[in-house]
């Protein structure tokens, strides 16, 4: 709305402003680089730290992570980052996000069987379908806010589940899932299941992990950029005071829809990767409302409103569900324990378990560091 032309000569104050802006700009670039580097390091070191090291140290294998679980965790982490954008930042609670994960999974699988088995093409197809679904469902569901939005997304989620179960059963395999997935080689040469040459299996055990890991790093970097874009500020403003956001001239509805679609895109990438990883599309783990419930728990438990919280949540959930569930004494109660922790988080720990850890770390550092801080 300001059509003023900048004066040709800059005042000293303006010059100072520009240089500090430049400083901020380089700082920011540095921040983003740091995040990218940390993400890459995290992805590369995780297998060693969580799988190989424990076995080297003699930890019983039933308590340790295994490679396939790690890969699955990264896939859920991608899903959770996108979901956090919708819930943590925009404040919209969707109980139907399994739709985007699931339709992407099915599309990727069916695409691989019927058209082209290139993994990258599978991901693109799945994501495209998820984005389309998110556009349609978001457009309809966002007409009403608050609880109606939650109920509408829940209803849609169930509807898609039952539609894929049967009447579309002939195409989707119904309750047996889609078994015709054909995951081809990456770029025509790399078999995803094979091990990476020159790299010990303890660090990266297969190309699949690298493939998923790369997607995860990209998701983190893109996610970080989105949070630092005007969207990060606008979406938070929408959550804090929707009316005010509207009254500074922002088209709140379109921003909400974009947030929904972006989160759907992340879910789509994750769902497609799921099919690539599993080579199979079971209906219960893709479209069932339990998936929608799981992503809510993962994201909230991990910590909404931060970049790492959802990733941590995915790790925590996967570990508890798959490893702790097999442990003596507490094993059978894993879901109950998670449920209780979830309730505690909702009641009093708004930054999630990750937020609680960060808070404790700070308190401990304060106590130990004293005056030095």
């Amino acid at each position: 709305m300001s059509d003023e032309v900048e004066p040709a000569t800059e005042t000293p104050a303006a010059q100072e402003r520009d240089s500090s802006l430049y400083e901020r700009w380089t700082d920011v670039r540095g921040e983003e680089r740091t995040v990218a580097v940390l993400a890459i390091l995290g992805v590369l070191l995780a297998p060693f730290l969580l799988v190989t090291l424990p076995s080297m140290l003699g930890l019983p294998s039933s308590y340790a992570w295994y490679h396939s679980l790690l890969t699955l965790t990264l896939i859920w982490a991608i899903f959770a980052i996108g979901y956090d954008l919708l819930l943590g930042y925009t404040g919209l609670l969707s109980f139907g996000h399994a739709i985007f994960w699931g339709t992407a999974a099915y599309s990727a699988g069916i695409f691989s069987a019927e058209v082209l088995n290139s993994p990258i093409a599978m991901i693109l197809t799945g994501t495209a379908v998820a984005v389309l679904m998110a556009w349609i469902i978001g457009w309809i569901s966002l007409r009403r806010g608050g609880i109606y939005f939650a109920i509408l997304t829940l209803a849609f989620g169930q509807m898609v589940y039952y539609v894929f179960l049967s009447p579309l059963g002939n195409y989707t395999g119904g309750e047996n899932g889609f078994t015709g997935v054909d995951v081809g080689s990456l770029f025509g040469v790399i078999e995803l299941g094979s091990s990476v040459p020159f790299v010990p299996g303890g660090i990266v055990n297969s190309w699949m992990y690298l493939f998923v890991g790369t997607a995860t790093v990209l998701a983190i970097v893109v996610g970080y950029r989105i949070l630092n874009s005007p969207y990060g500020a606008v979406l938070r403003a929408v959550r804090e005071n929707e009316q005010r956001a509207e009254f500074v001239g922002l088209n709140v509805w379109r921003y909400k829809l974009m947030s929904f679609i972006i989160s759907g895109a992340f879910a789509g990438v994750a769902g497609s990767l799921y099919t690539v990883h599993q080579s199979y599309v079971p209906i219960e783990n893709t479209l069932s409302w339990t998936v929608s419930g799981d992503i809510v728990v993962i994201t909230v438990l991990g910590g909404i409103g931060s970049l790492f919280g959802p990733i941590f949540g995915a790790g925590l959930y996967m570990y508890v569900k798959n490893i702790v569930s097999g442990m003596p004494v507490v094993g059978p109660f894993w879901h109950l324990i998670l449920g209780l922790v979830f309730v505690i988080v909702v009641v009093g720990l708004p930054d999630g378990v990750w937020g609680g850890i960060a808070w404790t770390r700070e308190k401990v550092a304060d106590a130990l560091g004293g005056e030095d801080r």
């Binding site: 874009s229 005007p230 969207y231 938070r236 009254f247 709140v252 974009m258």
Partner: protein, 253 residues
């Protein structure tokens, strides 16, 4: 001077209640008009109709000559109508600077953009507008304070700043001094006057504090049970018998 805002036969009915009854109001560019009336007269309803938060039952509203009844609230803001709310409507968990940034984004970028992959700091014009806004309301030193931690008077000023960020031609202010101490009220009035002069704003002010109303208004419109029962300069309105009757038992003039 041209007419910047005009309502024509504006009616709003809620079920059986007529909150706005064939209101014909016009504002000249650059003037400060106060809208007064006893509680329940329909002042807030009228404001909400102008900002499009409410849909009118019938009638028309013209801003700068064009009808705005088909627009969404954010579109009206983009056209140049700003609103300052009755309660300090800010973004509580964001910092003062972030608050102003949001308003600046709305002003610089319009209602919507696909820029979710561009970094927020790559828009120097937005940063500059933010700085100017905070400077105008004298909150620049507190730019890193979380908005909810501000004292109420500062929250109000931030709120006014947010409303001004879009450089509106018309500013609607809904009881800006409600709940303020005498010093805060004085500061706010000075702010309003200064801002109006510096930015050439037209202001429609809803107020209960008659001292303020009669000291800073160019014209006053009196609303009673949804109708305008008197309008004119402060002197004209003060002497109007209808107005005095409407206020019997209410606020003294």
């Amino acid at each position: 001077m041209s007419t910047i805002l005009e309502t024509r036969d504006l009616v709003k009915q809620f079920g059986g209640l007529t909150a706005t009854d064939h209101v014909n109001l016009s504002l000249e560019e650059g003037e400060l008009m106060s809208l007064i009336g006893p509680n329940g007269a329909g002042k807030s309803t009228l404001i909400n109709l102008i900002t499009r938060k409410l849909q009118e039952t019938s009638g028309d509203i013209l801003f700068e000559g064009d009808s705005i009844v088909g627009l969404e609230p954010h579109e009206v803001v983009q056209r140049g109508v700003g609103k300052s709310f009755q309660t300090a409507s800010i973004f509580p968990e964001l910092t003062v600077e972030e608050n102003a940034n949001i308003a600046s984004f709305g002003a610089e970028h319009g209602a919507f953009r696909f820029n979710f992959l561009r970094h927020r700091d790559s828009y120097p014009e937005v940063a500059e507008r933010t700085r100017d806004v905070l400077d105008a309301v004298e909150l620049l030193p507190q730019k890193d304070v979380t908005a909810t931690d501000l004292p109420y008077g500062d929250k109000r000023r931030l709120e006014i700043g947010i409303a001004l960020a879009s450089e509106p031609s018309l500013l609607l202010m809904d009881e800006p001094t409600a709940g303020m101490s005498p010093e805060e009220t004085q500061e706010t009035v000075e702010l309003i006057e200064r801002v109006q002069e510096e930015m050439g704003l037209t202001i429609l002010l809803v107020e209960h504090d008659m001292e303020i109303v009669f000291s800073i208004s160019d014209r006053i419109a009196v609303l009673h049970q949804g109708e305008i029962i008197a309008r004119g300069t402060p002197d004209e309105v003060q002497g109007d018998p209808d107005v005095q009757e409407a206020y019997l038992g209410g606020v003294e003039l």
